[in-house]
């Protein structure tokens, strides 16, 4: 089932890119969240899929018999989910504070660092 999932991940990436190219800060951050999901799935899928057998050794056993889901990408993705969440929370706070200070949530109006008149030679 890796190939269909690859299509889904491509779709999520495309949606994330589309949202991040918006001038609206909220859409941009939504895109950020979608991209996080896409990347997590990408790492997960690249480690191959195994149905129904979590990487948990049965009680009393020393190792799992037979095939089991790849634990390494799971460990990577688990922390990535939490960090992505922390980052998103921070970015949301930043967006809110940017609105408080600049009075806009449109990125093309946030031009304190590069004011438009300086674009002229």
């Amino acid at each position: 089932m890796e190939a269909p999932l690859a299509l889904l991940i491509g779709l999520l990436t495309g949606v994330a890119t589309w949202l991040m190219l918006s001038r609206n800060l909220i859409r941009l951050l939504l895109g950020f969240a979608v991209l996080g999901n896409a990347v997590n799935l990408l790492i997960f899928t690249a480690g191959r899929l195994t149905r129904d057998v979590p990487p948990i050794v049965p009680a009393g056993a020393q190792a799992i018999e037979g095939a089991f889901a790849n634990p390494l990408p799971q460990a990577l993705v688990l922390t990535a989910i939490v960090i992505g969440f922390g980052l998103l929370a921070f970015a949301l706070v930043l967006a809110w504070q940017a609105y408080v200070r600049l009075g806009t949530i449109r990125t093309d109006e946030m031009r304190e660092a590069e004011p438009p008149e300086e674009a002229k030679p």
Partner: protein, 764 residues
């Protein structure tokens, strides 16, 4: 030799302190450094043939060493640098007497001296280049010394940009040369003969090296910076821009002649451009009224002559070049310093306002007159000797290059005329208003011109004092076999002698003509001939500024979505380009899915599409939540309960935080409004998504290496006493990673608190 190169740098460091302690007399002390170098070099005269090497490792890992070599060619240049340097330091002490920045001036001047010694003594390609660039930098600082004048700043920048771009070309050329030759030592490269000319890279190397040398030595069309550099104080013009730095290009051409020279390309480029520069310089000199600019244009002409003489790569040419190098340095140094005296004492150097200075400045006049004898090539001046040698060189070429003989003769003729102008116009005739209050310069400012002019006269009468030890030795170094030279002052009364006489007569006639109608020539010719390359430089600079502004507007519009679009597009295109290389297999196995899996995929995909197209926040946030739950389901279906729980909890909290933030932000609708290239952005998005899918399908088609995962599976219980392998990896096997990750969470929380705190304070 290392000391000879480093001593001026050390002196440069102490120069400001010395000036503070000793005032204007600091020049007397600083002059000891080049004087000592000069004496030391003289003592090494017998060793200069065949040459000596000294090596000090510098950056051994990169084959960069402070290798120095002393042979005839280095020696003649080093003697000029230290000898004239001594006189210039003395002279500058008088010329800039009481100048508040005198310490800084000496700092730059001594730094230049060290760098220039480094250029002519280096035997390592990289070391040579470093010193070469240092001379350009010193020149920039010295031309722009009077930095409060815009003209000086412009001239300094122009000099730096032209020689600096040439320097880049030179670096490329030298590196290619060293790579092709397999050594970074110049003596290895030149000692092996003309092997490089069979290399396919010969032409690129030649062009790059020649570009470096031509920009440095002010050959057409890069000459425009040299007259501009006359904005510098006169000692600088005399030292850098006539006697030494501008000759660095000539030095390098002569130095690399054994490797690069002798080919038709070399002959045509050097003879052609050199000849053109030679003729052009002297014509412009006749049209100038500023004494320093007259001298500057004759310097351009002289540099052209030197390059011209190096073109044919034969012994008479090299001999003539070396002799002329010496002659020119002596008389031009003297004349520049004399012109500086005139400027300093009379307050102007405009030829139309000067006259009669002979009476008030007799010593300066005498020095200038003697130097002009040499410049004009009259008998008893050293110029006569050089002219004889040049004549011999031309005759050796005569069969192929009739036109160059004509060009050189014309140049001689006009040079005679310029010499006459410089020697007579400021000094003779009616005493002009400017000259009335002038008086003779102090002795440090007379020592230089008198000494150089006198040397010219002495060597002119006894040329064999220098013929063998200097000129022949330098020629030996260039042509790679023993050269001898015996100069006979008057050979025979033949047609060559008649031609020389005819040149003198024609030059004198031209001078008389010039006196009558120079103003008319200037009025009619200057607008036509003047400063093509100089204007070209201005246009290039304006173009560069416009280009910079234009591309800044394109690339840095200050619009975030443009930056993002550019980033995504570049990444996608680069990724796509890498996919086209080599054959790529894709995993296209779409079979075997269970119904629940397809359903979850479909719901997730639909949520994503809704999130992309939603126009209200509520819908978008709901869609995002659905998407997250879909992802959690996927984790659940494929054996990752830990991920599923984490994803589920995070998704809940994301919705809570989103709600808390969104409620504070204005506007319910998400439409951004305003024009943006929707279809382009949709294309970029689709491309990025497609690229990720393709990459992943490609990765999935490759065999999987399960060793690490299997090891974790085997080791978890026996070694870490944990049954949940994911957790064991997180808190035991890869705990350091996890530590980093919780630090990130911690930092994000602190940063968010800080942002809120700052916001609260700004509002308060």
């Amino acid at each position: 030799m290392l000391i000879a190169v480093l001593a001026p740098f050390a002196a440069a460091g102490f120069a400001p302190l010395l000036v503070r302690l000793l005032g204007d007399r600091a020049g007397l002390v600083l002059a000891i450094v080049p004087a000592a170098t000069f004496v030391w070099l003289l003592s090494r005269l017998p060793e200069a043939t065949p040459g000596v090497l000294e090596a000090t490792p510098w950056v051994p890992g990169l084959d960069v060493a402070l290798d120095f070599s002393l042979d005839g060619l280095s020696l003649i240049f080093a003697l000029l640098i230290s000898g004239i340097g001594t006189l210039i330091v003395l002279y500058a002490g008088g010329y800039l007497k009481g100048h508040p920045m005198l310490g800084r001036f000496f700092l730059f001047l001594m730094m230049f001296m060290g760098a220039m010694q480094g250029v002519v003594l280096s035997d390592n390609v990289i070391t040579l280049f470093v010193f070469w660039e240092l001379t350009s930098l010193a020149s920039y600082l010295l031309v722009g010394f009077e930095s409060d004048r815009p003209a000086a700043r412009r001239a300094a920048l122009q000099a730096l940009l032209i020689t600096g771009s040439g320097g880049l070309a030179l670096l490329a050329g030298l590196v290619m040369l060293a790579e092709a030759g397999g050594s970074w030592r110049i003596s290895d490269l030149t000692g092996a003969g003309a092997w490089i000319q069979d290399d396919p890279l010969y032409r690129p190397i030649l062009i790059l090296v020649v570009l470096g040398c031509f920009t440095k030595s002010a050959q057409w069309p890069f000459h425009s910076w040299l007259p501009g550099a006359m904005q510098a104080p006169t000692p600088v013009s005399a030292y850098l821009h006539s006697a030494t730095m501008v000759k660095a290009g000539v030095y390098l051409l002569a130095r690399l002649d054994p490797a690069l020279g002798g080919s038709p390309e070399w002959l045509w480029i050097l003879t052609g451009i050199g000849g053109l520069t030679m003729l052009m310089g002297v014509v412009f000199a006749l049209l100038e009224t500023d004494l320093k600019l007259v001298l500057a244009w004759t310097t351009v002409s002289a540099l052209g002559t030197l390059v011209f003489l190096l073109g044919p790569t034969h012994e008479p040419g090299v001999k003539a070049a070396m002799a002329f190098l010496l002659v020119h340095a002596l008389y031009k140094g003297a004349l520049f310093m004399a012109a500086g005296n005139v400027d300093h004492e009379a307050g102007t150097r405009d030829l139309t306002r000067l006259g009669g200075l002979m009476r008030t400045m007799p010593v300066t006049f005498a020095a200038a007159a003697v130097a002009c004898v040499s410049m004009a090539g009259l008998p008893f001046g050293l110029g006569w000797v050089a002219k004889e040698l040049i004549g011999a060189a031309k005759i050796a070429l005569e069969d192929e290059f009739g036109i160059t003989v004509i060009a050189a003769t014309l140049t001689n003729l006009m040079l005679f005329c310029v010499a006459a102008i410089v020697a007579t116009v400021p000094f003779t005739g009616r005493t002009s208003e400017a000259a009335a209050h002038a008086h003779e310069a102090p002795w440090p400012m007379l020592a230089g011109p008198v000494m150089l002019a006198a040397l010219g006269l002495v060597f002119g009468m006894a040329p064999n004092l220098i013929a063998e030890p200097l000129i022949a030795a330098a020629t030996t170094a260039v042509i790679g076999r023993k050269a001898t030279l015996e100069i006979v002052l008057f050979k025979a009364f033949d047609w060559k002698f008649l031609l020389t006489l005819a040149t003198f007569v024609a030059g004198a006639a031209l001078f008389l003509l010039w006196r009558r109608s120079a103003a008319g020539w200037r009025a009619s010719l200057n607008p036509v001939l003047d400063r093509g390359p100089d204007r070209g430089y201005d246009q290039v600079m304006r173009g560069l500024a416009a280009l910079a502004a234009w591309q800044t507007r394109i690339w840095q519009p200050g619009l975030l979505h443009r930056y993002m679009a550019a980033s995504f597009a570049v990444v996608t295109l680069a990724g796509a380009a890498s996919l086209t290389r080599g054959e790529m297999r894709l995993n296209l196995d779409f079979d075997g899915g269970r119904l629940i899996e397809w359903a979850v995929f479909a719901v997730t995909a639909a949520s994503a599409l809704v999130a992309a197209l939603a126009t209200t926040r509520l819908l978008a946030v709901t869609a995002l939540g659905m998407l997250g739950l879909g992802v959690a389901m996927i984790f659940m279906l494929f054996g990752a309960p830990d991920l599923a729980i984490t994803q589920f909890m995070v998704e809940t909290l994301v919705v809570v935080i989103l709600a808390l933030v969104l409620i504070r932000l204005p506007g319910f609708r998400l439409s951004a409004g305003g024009a943006r290239p929707r279809w382009l952005y949709a294309g970029i998005s689709a491309g990025t998504g497609a690229l990720v899918t393709l990459l992943l399908l490609g990765v999935l088609a490759e065999p999987f290496d399960p060793r690490l995962s299997e090891w974790f599976g085997r080791a978890a219980v026996p070694e870490a006493f944990g049954h949940n392998i994911v957790n064991v990896i997180l808190v035991d096997f890869r705990a350091l990673d996890t530590l980093g990750e919780i630090i990130v969470v911690f930092a994000a929380a602190l940063a968010a608190l800080a942002a809120i705190g700052i916001g609260a304070r700004t509002r308060a």
